[in-house]
Amino acid sequence: MYFKNNNITNTKKKILIVSHLSKEGHIASSFSVLNILNVLVKNFLFKKKKYLSNFILSKGHAALGFYAILNQEKYISDKVFFNFAKFKSQLGGHPKRNEKIFTTASTGSLGHGLPIITGMAFASKNLNKSRKNFFILMGDQECNEGTIWESLLLCNHYKLNNITIIIDRNFSRESDLSLGNLSNRLKEFSQDIHQVNGHDEKKLLNLLNKKNKSFNPKIIVANTIKGFGSKVIEEDNSWHHRYPKNKFELDKIIQTIKY
């Protein structure tokens, strides 16, 4: 059974409220990656409360999920979070580069994050001689983009084992363009490749903590369920980009959150 996490359940409810208030947000995609983001934010992106500038949310449409976890961990205040996607807000439907809100790259158009983090990791390892690790969260269908495979070639060639690539494998558009056995396809690019249940935070943490002994990026294919936690959102794809319209719909959908 899934690792039960009351915090995350509350955070999902908060996402629904914020989405209702802002009339914006990709709820289903955010729920898909919430456990992954929870593990990353709690363990790898901050040191003594200071952001390490080592993360790119390449599937930018999950911004609401990222900011929700930052709010849950008290890096972003309620006041700021509840302003999500409002006219003067720094937090938008897709992230905009701003280190003050822990956003290293502007994303939203898919396939931009990996080339950028490849450049960052290259500079860090080869030029700055730093041992810092970099993390990127991508969508599975983002792998349709050619820049992903271009960047993987570079990661291999320059032995960038200081990058951890997490792929949110929620099979959301598998029927339209199949990625097939994604792990097998990626094996050419990494000897340190893993598959994991992307909602099992314990297993995710273990994998992320494991030292990468190869000369390639660590790749984690995290099998997830889009909309995870609410059967209604899981089963109805209209929730890909939809917000609870009124108080009634908001209350109703909050009731469906199970974990």
Partner: protein
Amino acid sequence: MRETFPKFIEDYLSKDKKIFVLLGDIGVYSFRNIFNNFKKNILNIGILEQTMIGFSAGLAIQGRVPFVHTIAPFIVNRAYEQIKIDLCYQNLNVNLVSVGASLDYAALGSTHHCPEDVAILSKLPNIKIYCPGTKVEFYNLLKQYALGGPKYFRITSSTHNLKFHIKNNAAILKKGKKATIIVIGNALRLLEDYYQELDANIIYLNCVKPINREVLIKNFNENLILIQDFYVGSITSEIISIYKNKKLKIFEIGLPNKFFLNYGTSQQHYTYLQLDKKKIKKQILTKLKN
């Protein structure tokens, strides 16, 4: 002009180790000395232009000052969205140095021509666009490499042969009464033999974004002739916005908006397109008479 770029990099790398050069598998031979002497500061990254731009953004985020170099259409067209988002939206200091401009690679066909670079790049906020007309101008413009934000240097093998003082990317070559003639970068070669004879303000610009508005406003004439070595219409709206409340008659000389389907040399193309000195002089004189 092409050889000026490796020379500049060599001169400046000895003082500034933050410089980092990315070649898109172009110009590798001309950078051979830098590969030997500064191998930590240069990569021939391969033929992956979109990723090359994103990669350069990553270098800039880590405090490096990247120069990205390849043939114009492969950066400007192929990686346009990367330039828009990774460089302009994030406002990162990355220097794009293209070669080929409009028709340098005449014999290679339209895949290698880029007469539209100024038109499409100038619509992106935050970018600066330089069109040097000589090697010396190019070298001097490159000195601005450390300035914040993305920059595009439009490098071409056809240069003009005049020397004059340039201030804030503009020069007033001559004052006159009948018109104001704005000449961009290397297009000055088409006027250099006879511009003294023309009764017009002749303004030279080697930066089209941002344009030196002050010089244009001070040298206003309602008859405006715009001479450029890229598609006509590329910067017209910007010029109009500078003279917003004034009546203007604009006449443009430049490349027509079409594919250039012949091969041969760029000179043959310019002759075929009636963009040679004689024909242009005749056109300008006719305009100045009216």
